[in-house]
Symmetry: D2
Subunit: 359 residues, 4 copies
Amino acid sequence: MRRIGMLTSGGDCQALNATMRGVAKSLYNMFDDVEIIGFEDGYKGLMYADYKIMQPSDFSGILTEGGTILGTSRQPFKLMHTPDENGLDKVESMKHTYRKLKLNCLVVLGGNGSQKTANLLSEEGLNVVSLPKTIDNDLWGTDMTFGFQSAVNIATNAIDCIHTTAASHRRVFIVEVMGHKVGWLTLHAGLAGGADIILLPEIPYDINVVCDAITKRSKAGKRFSILAVAEGAISKEEASMSKKELKAKKRTEMVYPSVAYEIGARITEITGSEVRVTVPGHMQRGGEPCAYDRVLSTRLGATAAKMIADGEFGYMAAVKNNDIVKVPLSEVAGRLKTVDPNCSMIKEAKMVGICFGDE
Amino acid sequence: MRRIGMLTSGGDCQALNATMRGVAKSLYNMFDDVEIIGFEDGYKGLMYADYKIMQPSDFSGILTEGGTILGTSRQPFKLMHTPDENGLDKVESMKHTYRKLKLNCLVVLGGNGSQKTANLLSEEGLNVVSLPKTIDNDLWGTDMTFGFQSAVNIATNAIDCIHTTAASHRRVFIVEVMGHKVGWLTLHAGLAGGADIILLPEIPYDINVVCDAITKRSKAGKRFSILAVAEGAISKEEASMSKKELKAKKRTEMVYPSVAYEIGARITEITGSEVRVTVPGHMQRGGEPCAYDRVLSTRLGATAAKMIADGEFGYMAAVKNNDIVKVPLSEVAGRLKTVDPNCSMIKEAKMVGICFGDE
Amino acid sequence: MRRIGMLTSGGDCQALNATMRGVAKSLYNMFDDVEIIGFEDGYKGLMYADYKIMQPSDFSGILTEGGTILGTSRQPFKLMHTPDENGLDKVESMKHTYRKLKLNCLVVLGGNGSQKTANLLSEEGLNVVSLPKTIDNDLWGTDMTFGFQSAVNIATNAIDCIHTTAASHRRVFIVEVMGHKVGWLTLHAGLAGGADIILLPEIPYDINVVCDAITKRSKAGKRFSILAVAEGAISKEEASMSKKELKAKKRTEMVYPSVAYEIGARITEITGSEVRVTVPGHMQRGGEPCAYDRVLSTRLGATAAKMIADGEFGYMAAVKNNDIVKVPLSEVAGRLKTVDPNCSMIKEAKMVGICFGDE
Amino acid sequence: MRRIGMLTSGGDCQALNATMRGVAKSLYNMFDDVEIIGFEDGYKGLMYADYKIMQPSDFSGILTEGGTILGTSRQPFKLMHTPDENGLDKVESMKHTYRKLKLNCLVVLGGNGSQKTANLLSEEGLNVVSLPKTIDNDLWGTDMTFGFQSAVNIATNAIDCIHTTAASHRRVFIVEVMGHKVGWLTLHAGLAGGADIILLPEIPYDINVVCDAITKRSKAGKRFSILAVAEGAISKEEASMSKKELKAKKRTEMVYPSVAYEIGARITEITGSEVRVTVPGHMQRGGEPCAYDRVLSTRLGATAAKMIADGEFGYMAAVKNNDIVKVPLSEVAGRLKTVDPNCSMIKEAKMVGICFGDE
C-alpha cells in the first residue's frame, strides 16, 4: 500500500481545497491501494503527528470551498534544526513522523517559507512534492500561483465598488491591497480596477509626485482619484533608510494601523483633499476560488499525483508558459519573484496613464 | 408643458439611478410634454441653478448603475435660512431657482438631512415629492430605504470572505460596518454573515462581555470568532459620558482611525488573541444595486410620478407593509428609525446565540 | 429529553440549510437535552424511517450552503392514505415512525404540496411546525418565502448578462424564468432586470400585442427587446381552452422543450426578428442563499424553535408586515398566492412601460 | 494630426470596451494631436462610412462595461470582393472610406472571421492593427483572447449553481456551453465547475460511454451527474458522416433546439434517468469583464497603441508565454486553435476522473 502525507502551510488562500482534491482524485484513480494522511495545521501536524486518515469522500464537494480542510499555521522556517518547546529538534520530529507512518511521499501546499522547509525535508531524504500556494504570486519558478487570481478578483471588486461611489463625490480614495514585500496583487487589481495611482513595495514613491497626480486630475475636472496601495508600499525616504533607522522612525512617529492611513494623512496634509480608506484585509484570502484558480489547481494537483506515481521527488509543480511542469525545490527555496519596475507590464500601465509615484 | 426638477442629495448609495429612471420613465409615459431638469450635486445645484435639461435617453441603461448621474453633495441642513458665501439666503436662492425655472415640482432623493430640507422647502410653498435614499435604513416613515439591501450584500460578502479564511486560522476578526448612529446595516449583515458578536450604536457593549464570548468560543474548540461592529458602536462607559467628556476622552487617548481598531486593541489586551481588522468602508455605498433594490426603486419611482400626476405634494414615497404609500414630509423630517434593543429581530438573533455585548 | 424530527421536502432551494441551522442553534441554546433527528429525502425518510441523529456540528458552517444536508424528494401529496409499494398506508407509516422515535415535534421545510401533507399530519395528531420554502413565493399566509430572493437574484443576473450583450446586436432575447403556475419570480426578475416584456401565468398574453411591442421598440431605434417569460406563460387562446383541448393541442403541434422556444418561434414568424433563448433552469434553485434569505431564514428558524418551546403546534412560521408570525397550517394548506393582474406592482410596472402582452 | 479608425466586429464579448479604452488612453497620452474615429456596427460602418469622432471622455468609465460602445455586426468575410446591395465592391468601399477619412491606421477588435478581413485589408495596403477578441479562445497565434475568462466565469457559475441543487436530488443535469467548433470554453468551465462528463466538438462521444459513466456514478452512490456539453458536441456516428448525410439526419429526425436537449433525450432513453437542461446561452457573452480580462485588455490595448506609434502594421497584438507580442495577421487569418484531444490538459482532466465520452 502507498501512503501519502499531505499538509497545507502558511497563510491560507483560495483553492487549497481544490488543489488537494486534484491530487487526491488522481491518486485514487491511479492506485487501488493508496491512503492519504492529512496533517493538521501545517508542519505542526507533521511535527506532533497530529493527523487524520482521509477518505475519498473527504475530497468530494470541496472544489469550490475556500480555506483548507486540514487547517494551517504559519511556521518559523528559520532555524529548523532547533528544539521545539519539548526540547526536540523540529526537523527530526518531522522526519520521525514521516518514517513512523511509513509515508511514501509528503505533499506540501505552501508559499515561500513553506517551500523552504519542503526543500530542507527533501534534502534530508524525505520524498517531497510541493504545490505553489499564495495570493501574492511571489514564488520563484512558477508563472502563477493558485490563490492569486481569486485574490485579484476580490481586491478588484473593492476598487470597483469605490469607483461607483467615488464618481458621486469629490474625494481621494485609498484601497489597501495585501502584499508586504511584493506588489503583484496590487498591480493586477490596480490595473483591473482602473486605479489612477498604484503604489508598490518594489517602486518607492515620492509623496509629492503622488499629490501632483491627484491635483492634476482634480484640475482636469475629474471628480475623484483612486489609489491602490500595497501594504508594503514604501516612500523613497524610507527606502533609503537602514532597517534600524526605519524602525526608529516607525517608533517615534504617530503609529497608523496600516500604511494606507499614513499615506492618506499625508495627502490631506499636502493637498487638502478629503481622503477615505478601505482595507479589505483578510477578505482577500477568503471566499470561493475563482474558475481560473480551480482549473489551475486541478491541473497542478493531477501533475503532482503523476510525479508521485513516477517517483519524481524534490520538485514543485509549477506553471511555465501555460504548461504544468516540475521545478527543483532547491531552485525555488528562498527566492522571491518580485515586480521588476522596468517590466513590460509596468510600462503598459504607465502608457494608459497610471502613476506609480516614482516620476 | 410640465417641468419637473430632480436632485440627489447626501451620501450616495446604490439604486439612486434606478429610482430616477423609475420616476422619469413613468413621467415620460404619462405625459407628452414633460421636461425633467436635473440639478447637479444636490441642493447646491438648486441654490446656484446648476442644472441640465434631461433627455429620455439619459435615463436609459442606468437601472444597474451605481452612483448618481446627477452627482451629489452633503449639505448643511442646519440653519438653512443663513447666507451662503455670496451673502444670499440659501433657502431663498433655492426658491428663486425653482420659480425662475417655472418648475411644477421638485423630486428629492435623499436621506435624513435631505428630507428635512425637502420638508422645509415644502413648508415654504414649493411642490416637493421625495424618495427614501440611504444605506442605513434609518428613515422614519418607511419600512425600507433603497440602497440598504445592496449595502447589506456587500457587508455580508465581507463577513463571508472572512469566514472562509478565519476557519483556517485561530484568530479574532473584526469587520467594521457603516453606521454611525444606527445599526440596521450591521445587524442584517451580521445575521446574514453568521457573525458571532454584533456591536451596534443602540446597544452599548461591555468589553468584558465581548471578551468572555470570545473566550467561551475558543474553549469550545471553535477556531475563530467574528465580530460585526458598527462604526458607531459604543461602550457602556462611553454611553454614560456627557458629550464633553466623550470628546475629551477621544482627544487624550490614543487615536485609532476607527472604532474597529480600538476594540481590536482592547480584545488583544484582555484575551491575548491576535485580531485582524477589515474595513470595507465606502465599498458599502458602491457597486450595482441588487435586484431587491431595483424592484423597490422602480416601484417607488413610479409611485412618485403618480403623486406628481395627482398633484399630491409634500410627501415621501415609502414602503409600508409591502405596499408603496405616501407619508407626509412633516412626519419624516428630523426623526430617526433606530434599532430597538428589545425588538423581535434582536431577540431572534440572541436565540441563535449571537452576543450583542450587553449581557 | 426532547426529540425533534426535521425534514426538507419538495423542490430544493437556497437557504434550506440556513433555516435548519436557525431552528437547530435556537433549540440547542434553549435546551440542554434536545436531540434532532434528520429524515432523509423528505417525507420518504419519515415513511421508511431513514434518518440520522444530528449533532450540533452538523449545523455549523451551513448558513451559506445551497441545497439541503438532509436531501429532499418530491412526494405525491394526493391520496396520502393510499398504500405505498409495500402495501402500507403512507400516512400510517409516517405516524408510526414519529411514534416509534418518540418525537415531540416534526419540523417540515416545504412548499405547497409539503405544507398540505404537514397539515394532514397535524390533523392526524402529530405535533407539526412548518417553514415556508420555495423559490416561487406562492405560499398562502406569508408575505415572503425563503429561497425567493436568491432565485430572483439569479434570474435577474441572467437578464443583466443578456442586456449587456443585447445592446451590441439587433435581436430579441427571451429569458425563461421558473414558475409553472405563479409569476412572482418572473415579475420581480423582469422588473429588476429591466425586461421590456414580461409574460406571466396569471396574465394570458396575445402574441400580436407582444410582437407590436417589439416592433414599436425597434421603430423607436432600440437595438433589442428582452422578454422575461415564466415557464407557465400562457396565451389568451390557450387560456380559453379546456384542459383536454390544451393537451390535444400540445400533442399535435411541434413540441418545444419549453415555452420560451415556442414563443420565440412565433415572434420570428410574425416579426422576422432573430430570437435567442436563455434557459437558466435549475440554476435558479442553486448557489448560495443571498443575505436577505439568510436573515429571513435565521429569523424564521428561531421563531419555529420558540413555537416548539411554547408547545404551539399546527402552525407555519411566516412573514406578515415585516414581523415573523405563526399561521395555522389549515389556512395555508392547498391555497396558492398568485399574482393579481390588478395589483399595484403590476400597475407600477406598466407605468414604467413594461408590456405584459395583455393590452 | 493622426487619425485612427476603430471598430469592433463579430459576436460581442466582455472587455471590448476595456480594450478600446486601453488603446485610446495610450494614444491620447502619447500624442497631442490624435483623433479616434469609431465605426459603427463593425465593418459595416467602415463600408458605409457610418462613424463618430470619439472624445477622450467616451473612453472614460468603460473599463468595466460589457458590450461595445461602437456596436458590432457579424459580417460575411467570404467573397469580400463581391458587390454589396448597392452594387459596390465591399472591400473597395472600405478602402474608400479609409482613404477619404485620411486614416493613419485601422484598429480592429475581432475574432476569426474579422481577423481574416483585417488581413485582407492589410494585404490591400491599409495600415491595420488588430486585437484578439472572442469568448472561444480559438484564435491562432495567441495563448489567450480577451472575453474568454469572463465567459468561463459565467459558464462555471452555471455549473456551480446546478451543483448545489443537483446534490439535493437524484438526476442528470446538462449545462450547454457556447462553442460550435471549439471546446476551450466547455473544457475550462467543465473543469472549474467540477463536471463529471465533458463533451467537446474535438472529441466525438459515444452515447453508451456517456451513459456508462452516469450509471457507474449512480451505482457508486452519487446522487447526480453533471455534463458540460459544448454546443458543437458531436457523436462518433455523426463525426463519421459526410456533411450531406449529417444535414439529412438533422432534417428527418426530431429537431431539438440545441444539442443538450438531444443528448438529454438519449440519456433518458438509455438510462431511464430524469434529465434537466440549462442553457445559459448569450449570458456567456454578457456581464462585466472579469479582472483577468481587464488586465489583459489594458495590456493588449497599450501594446496596440505602441505598434501604431512605431508604425508596425499588419499585426495582431497577442499573448505568448505571458508576454504581449505581435503576430503577423497573415499567420492568424483563417486558422483555428482547437483543443488537441491528446493535450496535457485533457490528460490531467482524465486523471481526476472526468469522462470525455470517448473511452
